[in-house]
C-alpha cells in the first residue's frame, strides 16, 4: 500500500483520536468526522482515502474505545505506523482490520506529506527518497486475523471455539 503521511507525536491517546463526547455514535461514518479532532479539528477534511498516519511511541494509549480505530478506518486511512503502540488500541485496530505497523525509528525517517510505501508481507517501508525501513511483522496469530478481515470473520471461520 502507498499513501501520504500525516505525522503525530508521542503518547497520542484515544481521547484526542476520538473525543469522549462522540462515543454516542456507533458507526464509522459519524465517527470519522471527528477523527483526530482533539489535535486537529479539520483532520477529517484534510485526510484523503489511502493516507497513512505516522505516530511516535505509545500510539493509542488510554481508553479502550474501539470508536477510535473505527474513526480512523471510516476516514479511509490505510495504515497506522508508529514507534510503538498501546496494547488495547493495537488489538482493537487489528480486530476491525486496520493494519498497524510497529517501526522503531520511523518518525525520524519520514516527513509529513511525503508518500511512503508499506509492504506488509515482507515487513518493509519505502520512503520517497528510496530509503528502506524494516519492521517487525505481526505475530502469525494476529496476521491471520487481519488477513481474514478482522476478528468477526475469523470467528466465523473457526466455529469450534
Amino acid at each position: 500500500m502507498e499513501g501520504k503521511v500525516w505525522k503525530f507525536g508521542n503518547d497520542i491517546d484515544t481521547d484526542v483520536i476520538l473525543p469522549g463526547r462522540y462515543l454516542i455514535y456507533n458507526d464509522e461514518e459519524n465517527l470519522s468526522k471527528h477523527c483526530m479532532e482533539g489535535l486537529d479539528a479539520d483532520f477529517d477534511k484534510k485526510a484523503q482515502k489511502g493516507d497513512i498516519i505516522v505516530g511516535g511511541t505509545n500510539f493509542g494509549c488510554g481508553s479502550s474505545r474501539e470508536h477510535a480505530p473505527m474513526a480512523i478506518k471510516g476516514l479511509g486511512i490505510s495504515a497506522v505506523v508508529a514507534e510503538s503502540f498501546a496494547r488495547i488500541f493495537y488489538r482493537n485496530a487489528c480486530n476491525i482490520g486496520v493494519p498497524l505497523v510497529e517501526a522503531p525509528g520511523i518518525t525520524e525517517k519520514v516527513f509529513e506529506g511525503e508518500k511512503i510505501n508499506i509492504d506488509l508481507e515482507n515487513g518493509i517501508i519505502k520512503t520517497e527518497s528510496g530509503e528502506e525501513v524494516e519492521f517487525k511483522k505481526l505475530p502469525p496469530f494476529m496476521l491471520n486475523i487481519l488477513n481474514t478481515g478482522g476478528l468477526i470473520p475469523w470467528i466465523k471461520n473457526n466455529p469450534d471455539l
Binding site: D13, L23, E37, E66, N92, N95, K156, L161
Partner: protein, 414 residues
C-alpha cells in the same frame, strides 16, 4: 515450574498446568462487563457473529454509568438498545441508571473474586486487580467474541513487581503513590506488563487504596494491576459473594522484574496537563482552578468522600471556583447520606450529582470550556478529556482536591 500470579491465573483459565510469558493462550472468561457506551458496539459485533445466545447469561454484567441519566437522544437510544439486549438475553446482572460507576459497582455487588479472569469493555477494568483478579480492558469486538464463545486469546504478560515500602505521611495517599510511580516510569513504562503491587505498604492498604493503584495501572500501559488477596480481601468480600474463590501468589523464583519505591518521604502529587506521567509535587505547582471534580472509579469511594468532607467541613468553596461531588455508587451515596457528608458538601457550596462517571471522560455532566482549568480526582488529563481541547486538567487525590476547592488554586491540605 515457578510461575507468577498472572501465569497461574491464565493457566487455570486455559486449563493448562503451566503457561509462560509470551505464550498465547485461549482463556475461559469468568465475568464479562460492558457499559452503556461500549455495549452497543459489542452487541453489534455479537449479532454479526450470528449466535443467538450469549455463552453464559450469568457471567455477563451490564452497568449503565457513562451517560446516566441519558443526556441526549443518541445516548437514550444506546440505553434502549442495551436494555433490549439485556431483556432478550435474560441477563440478570443488569444495573440501570441508578447504580453507579461500573468499577465500583462490580466489586461492591460481588462480581469480582480473586483468581478469576474478568474482561471489561473499559480500560479501567484493571481496577479489579486489587482483589487479586486478572482483570483487563478490551475493545468491543473482542467482547463480541467473549459474548459468543466465553473465550478470549491473551498473550501471557511478563511481570513487573512494584515493591512498596514505608508509611505514607498524613496528607498523602495511594493516589499520590500511583501518580509518583507513573511519573517515574512513564506513560508506557509498563506496556503489556502484568504489574503487581507488593510489600508492607500494600499489605497495610485497605481495598480502597489498592483499587486506586490497580485502577491507574493502565496509565502506564499495564495489562493488569494485581494485589495479592489476603485477609483484608476476604473481609471485603464477606457478604458480597457466596461463591468460593482461590487467590494466587507469585512464586519467589518465578521470572519477574522488581521496581522499588519508598513512600516515607512522599509529598502530595499532581499530574499536570496533558499527560498522566507529567507529575509534580503539589508544592511546586501554582494554578488557579475553575472546577474541582471529586469522584470517578479512581477516587469516588466513601474513603475519598470522608477525606474531602473532613477538609471541607465548616469551609466554603472559593468564589470563582465550582466543585462537583459525584459518589461512585449508590452504596457510596447512601453512606455519604448516613454519615452526613452530603450536607457538608452542599453547605460548602459544592454540587452533588447522581452516581456516574461525570466529567471524567468529557461526555456527560460538568464539561469545561476553553482556557478553563479542572482539578480532578479521576485518572486522565489528556487534551480535551473533560471538554474543550483548550481547557486543562490536573489530577490529584481527594484531599488535595478539597483543599484546592477552598483556596481556589491547587493547594496542599493543611
Amino acid at each position: 515450574m515457578a510461575m507468577t500470579m498472572s501465569e497461574k491465573i491464565l493457566a487455570r483459565a486455559s486449563a493448562k498446568d503451566k503457561v509462560e510469558a509470551g505464550e498465547i493462550v485461549m482463556a475461559n472468561i469468568d465475568i464479562a462487563m460492558v457499559h452503556d457506551l461500549t455495549g452497543p458496539l459489542a452487541v453489534k459485533g455479537f449479532e454479526e457473529i450470528g449466535k443467538e445466545k450469549v455463552w453464559d447469561r450469568e457471567k455477563v454484567v451490564v452497568p449503565f454509568d457513562h451517560q446516566v441519566p441519558a443526556d441526549s437522544i443518541d445516548s437514550a437510544n444506546n440505553h434502549i438498545l442495551m436494555r433490549k439486549f439485556v431483556k432478550e438475553q435474560k441477563i440478570t446482572n443488569f444495573y440501570d441508571v441508578n447504580q453507579g460507576v461500573c468499577h465500583q459497582v462490580l466489586p461492591e455487588l460481588g462480581h469480582v473474586r480473586p483468581g478469576e479472569v474478568i474482561v471489561g469493555a473499559d480500560s479501567h477494568t484493571c481496577t479489579y486487580g486489587a482483589l487479586g483478579t486478572f482483570a483487563t480492558g478490551i475493545g468491543s469486538t473482542d467482547m463480541a467474541m467473549v459474548f459468543a464463545t466465553g473465550k478470549l486469546w491473551f498473550k501471557v504478560p511478563e511481570t513487573i513487581r512494584y515493591e512498596i515500602t514505608g508509611d505514607l505521611k498524613e496528607n498523602t495517599s495511594a493516589k499520590d503513590l500511583i501518580l509518583n510511580i507513573i511519573g517515574n516510569v512513564g506513560a508506557d513504562g509498563s506496556t503489556y506488563k502484568a504489574c503487581e503491587f507488593v510489600g508492607q505498604t500494600i499489605s497495610n492498604f485497605d481495598m480502597s487504596d489498592r483499587m486506586v493503584l490497580s485502577n491507574m495501572t493502565i496509565e502506564m500501559g499495564g495489562k493488569v494491576g494485581l494485589c495479592e488477596a489476603d485477609k483484608k480481601t476476604d473481609e471485603y468480600l464477606k457478604g458480597r459473594t457466596d461463591k468460593p474463590y482461590k487467590g494466587f501468589t507469585t512464586d519467589k523464583d518465578a521470572s519477574f522484574e522488581t521496581i522499588e519505591f519508598d513512600v516515607s518521604n512522599l509529598e502530595p502529587q499532581v499530574a499536570c496537563p496533558h499527560h498522566v506521567d507529567n507529575v509534580k509535587p503539589v508544592s511546586e505547582v501554582s494554578k488557579q482552578v475553575d472546577q474541582v471534580f471529586l469522584g470517578s472509579c479512581t477516587n469516588g469511594r466513601i474513603e475519598d468522600m470522608r477525606d474531602a468532607a473532613k477538609i471541607l467541613k465548616g469551609n466554603k468553596v472559593a468564589d470563582g471556583t465550582r466543585m462537583l461531588v459525584i459518589p461512585a455508587s449508590k452504596e457510596v451515596y447512601t453512606q455519604c447520606l448516613d454519615e452526613g457528608l452530603i450536607k457538608i458538601f452542599v453547605d460548602a457550596g459544592a454540587l452533588v450529582t447522581n452516581p456516574c462517571c461525570g466529567p471524567c471522560l468529557g461526555g456527560h455532566v460538568g464539561l469545561i470550556g476553553p482556557d478553563e482549568v479542572s482539578l480532578s480526582t479521576s485518572n486522565r488529563n489528556f487534551k480535551g478529556r473533560q471538554g474543550s481541547p483548550e481547557g486543562e486538567v490536573y489530577l490529584s487525590s481527594a484531599k488535595v482536591a478539597a483543599a484546592s476547592a477552598i483556596k481556589g488554586e491547587i493547594s496542599l491540605p493543611e
